[in-house]
């Protein structure tokens, strides 16, 4: 099986603080990988390194067999990295449909007419069809989260990065979103998902990675990881 993404000894510091410490892992094609860890463990920084918002101090990042360690963010989008943000960041002055259209046209380097149909079907998949002409700035939280997902999908990703997309949602909303993500995963998209809502995460991912103080302290089968004493102590902060 080929790897969509490979990180090799990636480190990143902000001043004296090492937020990513010699991180190495690979994600095979089609896998859904979950990332958990306490606040400040460096999870979002890891995403920023993968998308190219931050450049690593040392180490290398390979995307679909190509070294992208120094490539700018927009090149990586065109290669197939789609991302949703922890705090939804839609283009508020654009309608929901325009948000998708822009992401799809520029993310895939195509003309708008070529991507219109795809955008409509993504709106359907993410249950946003009725909000297509609403300004993104006036959406509810669930719809903003859906738009994050939809917009990431619109860039035509081979690798989808989800950053706490279930956070802040009610139980019912969360289940609906999980169903959408499962459906996307079933289409064969590789997913890396950072999440605090563990039951949502473990119902989708096949592999779990635990981050603490920028280091990987465990990676493997979700059940085994959740059962390990070390993870329970560090991540859940309790002795069970």
């Amino acid at each position: 099986m080929t790897n969509v993404l490979t990180l090799t000894n990636v480190s990143k510091s902000f001043g004296a603080l090492k937020v990513t410490d010699e991180v190495s892992f690979a994600v095979p094609k089609g896998q859904a990988l979950g990332i958990i860890g306490p606040n400040g463990a460096g999870k979002s920084t890891l995403f920023n390194l993968i998308t190219g918002n931050f450049l690593p101090d040392t180490g290398s990042i390979t995307l679909l067999g190509r070294d992208v360690t120094r490539s700018p963010a927009m090149d990586r989008v065109r290669m197939g990295v789609g991302r949703s943000f922890q705090i939804p960041q839609p283009f508020e002055g654009l309608t929901v449909f325009e948000n998708l259209l822009t992401a799809a046209a520029y993310g895939q380097g195509k003309r708008e007419v070529e991507v219109q149909d795809t955008c409509v079907s993504i709106l359907g998949d993410t249950e946003l069809l009725s909000k297509a002409n609403t300004l993104a700035g006036s959406l509810s939280l669930l719809d903003r989260k859906r738009l994050e997902l939809a917009r990431a999908m619109a860039t035509g990703p081979k690798l989808l990065l989800l950053d706490e997309i279930a956070g802040g949602l009610t139980e019912g909303e969360c289940l609906a979103l999980v169903a959408t993500i499962k459906a996307l995963h079933a289409q064969g998209i590789t997913i890396i998902w950072i999440e605090h809502v563990l039951h949502a995460l473990t119902s989708v991912v096949e592999r779990l990675l635990v981050l603490d103080f920028g280091r990987i302290i465990g990676v493997g089968d979700p059940d085994a990881i959740m059962a390990s004493k070390e993870v329970r102590e560090i991540y859940l902060g309790m002795e069970v």
Binding site: T51, N53, P72, A73, M74, V77, R78, R83, F85, Q89, F91, E92, G93, L94, E98, N99, L101, T102, A103, A105, Y106, G107, Q108, G109, R111, E112, L135, G137, R151, A154, T155
Partner: protein, 287 residues
């Protein structure tokens, strides 16, 4: 009757101010960049048109048509290689750079074109007028106003119905997120400044045909442009047209009372609007 005439003349003059302001408004709206050299760029474009009319013997309108792509290239280059480097969280560096550019442009033009007053000559059109029954309006002022309406209409069409316009709005919302959607904010900024320079060329054409210009008049044009943008409300292009008209009307009414009052009346109108509506008349709903 004379007051209706004054009102109409003022509104038409506002078209010229709106043309000065549209490019400024475009650039500010997309990248929060205040271009202090905007007025001098208008004068620069006017000299460029003058140079083309002189050397090729063309009518100013055709000369402007030739100058427009050159100005687009100049704006694109300026943004790509200079202004993009100073854009950031701190608003001071771009202000300093464009202020420096303003000084350099004024002195450069003084060196090349001298301090002599110039004019773009269009023969009979300069004094032609149309009788509308109640008032008689100059053809050139009417053309200016129509051009301002046209420019704003086209800009709005671009903004709301094209891929480029959506990209403008997306990078204006959030350049970082935009780059994760595959947009390149820096090259989109360069296109925006190029487009602003095309509008500047049009503004320069009417400025040069309607009044004398010399290398020193840029800053005052910048001031009118600013006032029009702020009266209209930041981010609203039709508001900018209204802002231009308000300054124009204030100026013509001021001049009617006493010719010395023309410029002052415009500034007073600006201050009054600031007092009553600090965010302008038509501020953008989502800010």
């Amino acid at each position: 009757m004379i007051w209706i005439d004054v009102l109409v003349q003022g509104i038409l003059l506002g078209g010229l101010y709106a043309l000065f302001a549209a490019g400024l408004s475009l650039v500010f709206g997309i990248m929060r960049l205040v271009n202090l050299a905007h007025g001098d760029l208008i004068v620069f474009a006017a000299f460029a048109i003058l140079l083309i009319t002189g050397t090729l013997g063309l009518n100013p309108f055709l000369a402007a048509l030739l100058a427009a792509p050159l100005m687009f290239a100049a704006g694109w280059t300026l943004q790509r290689f200079v202004l993009n480097r100073v854009l950031g969280k701190d608003i001071l560096p771009p202000l300093l750079v464009t202020f420096g550019l303003s000084v350099a442009l004024q002195n450069g033009m003084l060196e090349i074109f001298s301090a002599d007053s110039q004019r773009l000559s269009v023969g009979r059109l300069e004094s032609a007028s149309i009788d509308l029954g109640v008032v008689t309006v100059g053809t050139l002022p009417l053309l200016t106003f129509a051009s301002a309406v046209g420019v704003i209409f086209v800009l709005n069409r671009i903004f709301y119905t094209t891929a480029l316009g959506r990209a403008f709005r997306a990078v204006s919302d959030d350049p970082t997120t935009a780059s994760l959607m595959g947009l390149n904010p820096k090259s989109i900024f360069a296109i925006a400044t190029g487009l602003a320079m095309v509008i500047v060329t049009l503004a320069a054409l009417y400025l040069g045909m309607r009044s004398n210009f010399d290398p020193s008049i840029g800053p005052a044009r910048l001031l009118y442009a600013f006032q029009a943008v702020i009266i209209g409300g930041l981010g609203s292009l039709w508001g900018t047209l209204a802002g231009g008209a308000i300054i124009g009307v204030a100026q013509t009414f001021g001049a009617q009372i006493n010719p010395e009052w023309q410029i002052l009346a415009g500034h007073i109108a600006f201050l009054v609007v600031l007092l009553i509506r600090p965010r302008g008349l038509f501020p953008r709903a989502v800010d």
